[in-house]
């Protein structure tokens, strides 16, 4: 028993926890991974250059990250709430709907990203044909004013299914008698949703907002497939990857420093947000 437990924990420590600390260690070095290149301890240099304005990628990265996180969090939860409201039933149509909205998660970021590149193909793609009717022509994923909006959209499309299922779980946990007991039989569906259903969904809202925020801060694999961080879509996660692996300098030390800063920013945003959402749950559910 001990052997199995320790083996499992060793794998978790070696490839889960050690890399976390490894990021911090590497961030204080000039590690490049070039063969035979010596590695030096360079102190806070990587961090200093981030905040000195000499590294243009960083300031833009902060802006792109904020836009991306806000857009994804709001869009994903709004869409998921709308979908969950209709797909929580036990009927056949609802079951098929649930399967469809979850399909992008099974397809994975690579296929999903490439699929949307096909659709927003600026030469003869369906989006170009459709928007062309309104006189709109663009390079889409290759255009500064479109790329970020589309990247946010595809990130939402990719992950809305999971958020929808979390909301459905929340909806199913609501006792149907509450609706009858509330004495609001006469009111419209919208008022009922706003006054009863949404407050009772508080735990699911907490889970979904945090999932979307942390996910949007840290993941960049979809952005990598769609634009590789070009055209204003280089979030901090993407920046860390690109300075480490996407350029000739292969500046892994600097990339690690960006990852550490991103991790700290994520905590600074996510922890108070979690506390606030938990407070909200207590206020609404008593």
């Amino acid at each position: 028993m001990w052997l199995g437990l320790l083996l499992g924990l060793a794998v978790y420590a070696l490839f889960g926890l050690v890399p976390m600390l490894g990021n911090v260690v590497i961030s204080f070095t000039d590690y490049t991974a070039l063969p035979n290149a010596p590695v030096h301890n360079i102190g806070w240099t990587n961090y200093a250059s981030m905040f000195s304005g000499n590294a243009p990628g960083f300031d833009q990265g902060v802006v792109a990250t904020v836009v991306f996180v806000l857009g994804v969090t709001l869009g994903q939860n709004a869409l998921a709430l709308l979908l969950a409201h209709r797909l929580s039933g036990s009927g056949r149509a609802a079951a098929i709907g649930r399967m469809l909205v979850f399909l992008p998660i099974a397809l994975g970021v690579t296929v999903v990203g490439l699929l949307w590149i096909l659709i927003f193909n600026p030469q003869q793609g369906p989006a170009e044909s459709f928007l062309g009717l309104f006189g709109i022509h663009s390079a889409f994923f290759g255009a500064d004013n479109w790329a970020m909006v589309l990247v946010i959209f595809v990130q939402i499309w990719q992950n809305a299914g999971f958020s929808t299922l979390v909301f459905i779980g929340g909806l199913r946990a609501i006792d149907p008698q509450i609706y009858e007991a509330s004495g609001m039989d006469g009111v419209g569906a919208w008022t009922r949703l706003r006054r009863i259903t949404f407050p009772l969904l508080a735990p699911a809202v907490t889970a979904n907002v945090l999932l979307a925020v942390v996910g949007a801060f840290t993941t960049y694999n979809l952005i990598y497939v769609l634009t590789d961080g070009q055209y204003g879509t280089q979030t901090l996660g993407m920046l860390a990857y690109n300075v480490a692996f996407g350029s000739f300098e292969a500046n892994l030390g600097y990339g690690a420093a960006v990852s550490v800063v991103l991790f700290i920013i994520t905590l600074i945003v996510a922890l108070p947000l979690m506390a606030a959402l938990r407070l909200r749950e207590r206020r609404l559910l008593g």
């Binding site: 890399p19 490894g22 469809l100 397809l107 299922l165 929340g170 990852s259």
Partner: protein
Amino acid sequence: MQRPRLIGGVAMGLLVVILFLLPVLYAVMLAFESPAHFLNSPLTPGSPDVHNFSGAWSQADLGTELLNTVLYSVVAAGLSTLLGLMIAFPIARRLVRGSGALYTLLFVGLFLPFSVIPLFAEARMLHLYNNRPGYILLHVEPGLPLAVLLLTAFISSIPAELDEAAWMEGSGYLTYLMRVVVPLTRPALLIAFLYGLLGVWNDIIGPVVLLADPNLFPVTRGVYNFFGSNESEWTLLAAGIVIVSLPVVALFAFSQRQIIRTAIAGAVKG
């Protein structure tokens, strides 16, 4: 009251179909179009043409890559499910001191970002870079936290008397796990395996950073590179995506009920 509800239902159905089904159908339609037909009328289906599939299959070397992907994802997900069980059982049965702390430690793992830079450095140092066993070993950990959480919850819900009796009879721990615990926890094991499998199968950053030899590439990197080297051959690219997606879609079609049920149930507890 009835009319607006009906309209709302139909509108919602349309939204789901347009947003989630149409893009997928478009790729399938494109895959069956000849390039000439696509040039003339890009939005309508032509007479089905299967040349794109044979072209994509041979040009992108999808056969080798699919085999690599299956090997990586099945072995890595299998190992993380097995190790997950090895960790979860003592925690669920409180056989070790500090079970609660261990559980929290694993729970934190769900939120740890995928730290690719230090993983790359580790892979280099431990000779796990650019080889199959290394690639598999590096992909065991991402599936572990979820496997432990799912299995701990499931094992805790089975009465201990059911399995303890068998242990007392003196069989070894491993035999006992395999003979008694595995059959009892099969549904949770399957879910942990499936989620782990999807994670490894769909990884794109890992194959780009941790592999260099094209013979070792999984299908994600293969189809991604295929897009880079065949710009504007849209029908061929669509066929590539369709081929790559088929195994996952088949797997998903067969297991979606359990996968979706787990996600919904998790929401209530979480």
